[in-house]
């Protein structure tokens, strides 16, 4: 139990806690947009913690130093691809006509779409 693997375990604990939090947000939020808000990105930060923490932990356990570089590559790819899927998904949800929660305050996107449709008709 040296300092390096203790740091790695701390990072893993941090990430796992955020996993739990994102699943809790998935349960508690009222509509699909807010669920995406709390879920997708907490899970991204959580997996960042778990993956890099595991790499540091493995190096602290005395394994090959390739663990840390490989986990870094996995974390970078996850960081690049996860927001793209969230972005595509929320746009598909809006375009397929799922309404916003009734407590929402503004909806500028609908106004902009109506503006562009009127311009197209003229």
């Amino acid at each position: 139990m040296n300092a390096v693997s203790a740091l790695g375990e701390l990072l893993v604990l941090f990430g796992v806690f955020f996993y739990f939090l994102s699943a809790l947000g998935l349960i508690r939020m009222p509509d699909v947009y807010n669920r995406m808000q709390t879920a997708t990105k907490s899970a991204t930060l959580g997996s960042l913690g778990v993956i890099i923490g595991t790499g540091i932990w493995a190096v602290g356990e005395g394994l090959h130093w390739g663990w840390i570089t490989k986990t870094l590559v996995i974390a970078v790819f996850l960081l690049l691809t996860n927001p793209i899927s969230a972005h595509a998904l929320i746009r598909g949800a809006y375009k397929s006509g799922i309404p916003l929660w009734e407590g929402s305050v503004v909806d500028r996107y609908r106004e902009a779409l109506e503006e562009s449709r009127e311009e197209g008709e003229e």
Binding site: F18, L21, L24, G25, R28, M29, P30, Y33, N34, M36, Q37, T38, T40, K41, S42, T44, L45, H64, W65, G66, T69, K70, L72, V73, L79, L80, N82, P83, I84, A86, H87, I90, R91, Y94, L100, W101, G103, S104, V105, V106, D107, R108, Y109, R110, A112
Partner: protein, 168 residues
Amino acid sequence: MGEAGKISRYLYTVIVLFIIWLFLTSSLDAQELEIGFILSLIVAAFTYDLFTSRGLANLHPRRIAYAAAYIPYFLWAMIMANLDVAYRVLHPKRPINPGIVECKTVLSSDVGKLSLANSITLTPGTITLDVIGDRYFIHWIDVKDASIEGASENITRPFEKFLKVIFG
């Protein structure tokens, strides 16, 4: 932002591919380095046309310094925003106030717009819904200011300081 020459773009692609190879194999053996270098030469010949349009100008020291400063700033913003969302999830009354707001950006290049949209999406509380020209439509979990200027001040300004230098 004109096109760079073919040689410059090819060399940039080779460098990036070789760095990815180094991280994936994580070995400094001579044989591994040789085969990786040959493979990145071959793969770069097919892909440099798609991969970049600016070539070695991407490796300007000022841009690298700003990118290196951007990473810790972005991670810190991400952790802070995640703790804020954690407070909203764990609070029994669920203090949320969602809505879709509009922002303006000053970035012009496509890669800059993509990375700004990804940064906005990864800091929780905001998620990019659509980009039309320079107008960003953003779903915000706690709307503080519904006007265009106020929302831009709150959401996109902190990232634009860095991204304007990095991507132009």
